[in-house]
Amino acid sequence: MEIHRLEKIWIAVSLVFIVGLVASIVYGVAGMGVGTVGDTGQQLDPNALEETRFADPGGHWASDDHYVVTVVARQFLFQPGSQEPVMVPANTTVTLYVTSPDVVHGFDVVGTHLNAMVIPGQVTKLTTEFDEPKSYGIVCHEYCGAGHQSMAGQLVVVPADELPRNESGAAGNTSGANATSESATASADASPAVAPPEVSA
């Protein structure tokens, strides 16, 4: 089978291009630590969220330099997010845990690259850091039923000292009971890259 020499050159150029593409992705993931949603290994029963960390969605300080927010995406609103914005501190590592009790939703913080799916029975974990106070819109970008077009909310980044740190005080925007009932809160998360050894209830 003889291939025209111009064709051989083109095959070589194509292979170099493909390897170059894969290399730039590897640089992004390994070099700059910019990845995507992974497998947190936690599965939960979507119909029994009250026994999990999502019983009382909201934000709290997991340690002095790590803020954790749990969000429930349910048919046609984010809790917190729609009725009152998700509050996160600036210049601090923030981890968002999102799940859904009913159907597949999308969780896209418009204007950032936080873009992931929310699937009943799974826990979506997004770790990031916001560098300046600003308010972002949150949009569900996966069709989830009749009210999908109105499912949106807000995420507001505030200076870190705005969010009270004491465990007993009403943390940020924990709606309802203020004592964080998080029994399964992990130990202090050393670095964002290491997934905290969460034990789901």
């Binding site: 089978m1 003889e2 291939i3 025209h4 111009l6 064709e7 083109w10 095959i11 194509s14 292979l15 291009f17 493909i18 593409l21 894969v22 730039s24 992705i25 992004g28 993931v29 990845g35 995507t36 949603v37 992974g38 497998d39 599965q43 939960l44 029963d45 979507p46 119909n47 729609s82 009913d102 159907v103 597949v104 999308g106 896209d108 418009v110 204007g111 690259h113 873009n115 992931a116 799916m117 699937i119 009943p120 029975g121 799974q122 979506t124 974990k125 819109g137 949150i138 949009v139 569900c140 970008h141 996966e142 069709y143 039923g145 009749a146 999908h148 077009q149 109105s150 949106a152 909310g153």
Partner: protein
């Protein structure tokens, strides 16, 4: 001799398949324009924001599943019988699977219609990806299952006809068109296993209430096992046209037959173990798995880049045989006034542009820039909406006269139609890409929120909406032209004037005899495909099934 005189029975089968295809693109196109008007806010009185999702499901199913599948089985039926120069073994079996496919389509369409009109008791506003736990009526799933099983019948028909032909010609190489048709159908058998298991084992009993729960992540992964390979099931028939007919239309011969076979084998082997690149944003799938499938996704670029070289080289060969000179001067010598030629050339150009969009989508982390935003519809309206659909329309102008024995009518309208489609798609798709970069979500009837602002970098949201609607109008006008030409040709008078087209296809510049014989041995390639699938999909599916086939499960939520 014209095809319709050689194989009248087979010609009628192909005509019927094309008729269903053109009916569904006609209806699907009309729904598409209504959606564009609704989404951009120009007219919100046609249907409610909730009905929009049933219209979107109808548009998706009619265009992406019905129009493509029917045209493909028709095109391959013509390709196989023409290149093997023999009819099907038993036309009753052929009419059988075509009837099954049509029944499935009607069942699915009526189920979707039920969501809009009151008197039909079904609902299926679940879009054409029908993710659980949103649940449609059982008739919707049954309809899709029948459509797929019917198309399996078509594959079996081609393979049996090839086996008969090889029994009579043991040492001859498989003719190129049959090689391409059979390898595409083998890919179709392998990839539809995923959606068949999802629908028959999980969703159908689940929507009938026989099983209480299904695991949304498992059904979703099974769908995307099928979801990416189906885009190659749509693309390879377009490559079939580009490789075997387009060189002749440009006045030349195919540059290399062996390379075409290598490309189709690469697609057969690599198409299915890449589906997870649609699930980068999904929880529950490890980043390692996503990275492996991303690498094999990028390697699928290779056969497409090879196709670019071979097809453009064949076009240049034709131009030079028509007297074209110089480094680029030959481009002017090409028959731009022939709609079969111009449609395919413009489709190729659109596909080259959409290739870049595909690279951005396929990146593990850069996908977060565009996932589920309007960028994605912008991308696939260029790939399946133009590269495949415009190729199918263009080749109809060349094929329909041979199938009906009637001369093509309204040839000026036909000559304009591809350009109208191409320009309309450039406007609509460019607007979709730009509005997607600003973060506007797809699959949303009214993307205007009280709490969210979208900052588009160049034009305002209003201008992008206007550009989208302008493009949609041009596309619909072009669709009307196409249906007008096809309709009036079909109703024209047979045999009055000699055809303006010629069915002969010249041999390739470097023929199949130069290529190794193993290329024609499909058993080897299917075995390799199955091996790659076990590596790519074995571990994740096993992990999901570990904690129970249906856990963590969700009950159906009717949509």
């Amino acid at each position: 001799m014209t095809y319709v005189d050689d194989f009248p029975g087979e010609a009628r089968v192909v005509r019927t398949a094309f008729a269903v295809a053109f009916a569904s693109i006609g209806l699907g196109g009309a729904l598409g324009v209504l959606q564009a008007l609704f989404r951009t806010g120009y007219s919100r009185s046609l249907f409610s924001a909730v009905d929009y999702y049933s219209v979107l499901t109808a548009h998706g199913v009619l265009m992406a599943l019905v129009f493509t599948t029917f045209f493909i089985v028709g095109l391959f039926a013509w390709g196989v019988t023409r290149s093997l120069d023999t009819g099907f073994r038993d036309l009753r079996f052929t009419w059988g699977w075509l009837a099954l496919m049509t029944l499935g389509t009607l069942l699915a369409f009526v189920s979707i219609l039920g969501g809009i009109v009151g008197f039909i008791p079904t609902h299926a506003a679940v879009l054409y990806t029908f993710y659980a736990p949103l649940e449609a009526s059982p008739t919707f799933y049954l309809g899709l299952a029948l459509l797929v099983v019917g198309s399996w019948g078509a594959g079996v028909d081609y393979v049996l006809t090839l086996r008969d032909w090889r029994a009579d010609n043991p040492d001859e190489r498989i003719p190129l068109q049959t090689f391409m048709a059979v390898s595409t159908m083998l890919l179709w058998f392998v990839c539809t296993l995923g959606v068949a298991v999802e629908v028959v084992v999980f969703l159908l009993p689940w929507s009938l209430g026989l099983i209480p729960r299904v695991d949304p992540l498992l059904t979703r992964t099974l769908f995307w096992y099928f979801g990416h390979a189906v885009v190659y099931f749509w693309l390879l028939p377009a490559y079939f046209v580009w490789y075997t007919i387009f060189p002749k239309l440009s006045g030349g011969r195919l540059f290399s037959d062996p390379l075409a076979r290598v490309v189709f084998v690469l697609f057969l082997v690599l198409s299915t173990p890449v589906g997870v690149h649609h699930q980068y944003g999904d929880p529950g799938l490890s980043q390692g798995l996503k990275f492996v499938q991303m690498t094999s996704t990028y390697f699928i670029l290779l056969p497409s880049l090879l196709t670019a070289f071979t097809v453009v080289a064949s076009m240049e060969h034709g131009a030079r045989q028509r007297g074209g000179e110089g480094r680029f001067g030959w481009l002017r010598a090409l028959p731009w006034e022939n709609p079969s030629f111009s449609g395919i050339a413009l489709a190729g150009l659109a596909f080259a542009a959409s290739g870049f969009g595909g690279m951005v989508n396929a990146g593990l982390n850069v996908n977060a820039l565009v996932h589920n935003t309007m960028w994605v519809p912008g991308h696939f309206h260029l790939t399946v909406g133009t590269a495949v659909a415009l190729t199918f329309m263009a080749i109809t102008y060349w094929l329909l006269p041979q199938l009906t024995g009637k001369r093509l009518r309204l040839r000026t309208l036909a000559a304009v139609q591809p350009y109208l489609w191409f320009v309309g798609m450039v406007f609509m798709s460019n607007a979709m890409h730009r509005i997607g970069l600003a973060g506007v979500p797809r699959r949303t009837s009214e993307p205007q929120y009280e709490q969210v602002i979208f900052n588009t970098p160049i034009a305002s949201i209003g201008e992008l909406h206007l550009q989208t609607v302008g493009g949609a109008f041009l596309l619909f006008a072009s669709l009307l032209c196409f249906l007008a030409v096809v309709g009036s040709t079909w109703l024209g008078e047979r045999g009055a004037k000699p055809l303006a087209v010629n069915g002969h296809i010249p041999s390739a510049l470097s023929g199949p005899e130069h290529s190794p014989r193993v290329l024609d041995d499909f058993r080897v390639w299917v075995a390799l495909t199955v091996l790659l699938l076990l590596i790519a999909y074995g571990p994740p599916l096993a992990a999901m099934v570990q904690n129970g086939l249906f856990a963590p499960g969700s009950a159906p939520i009717p949509a």
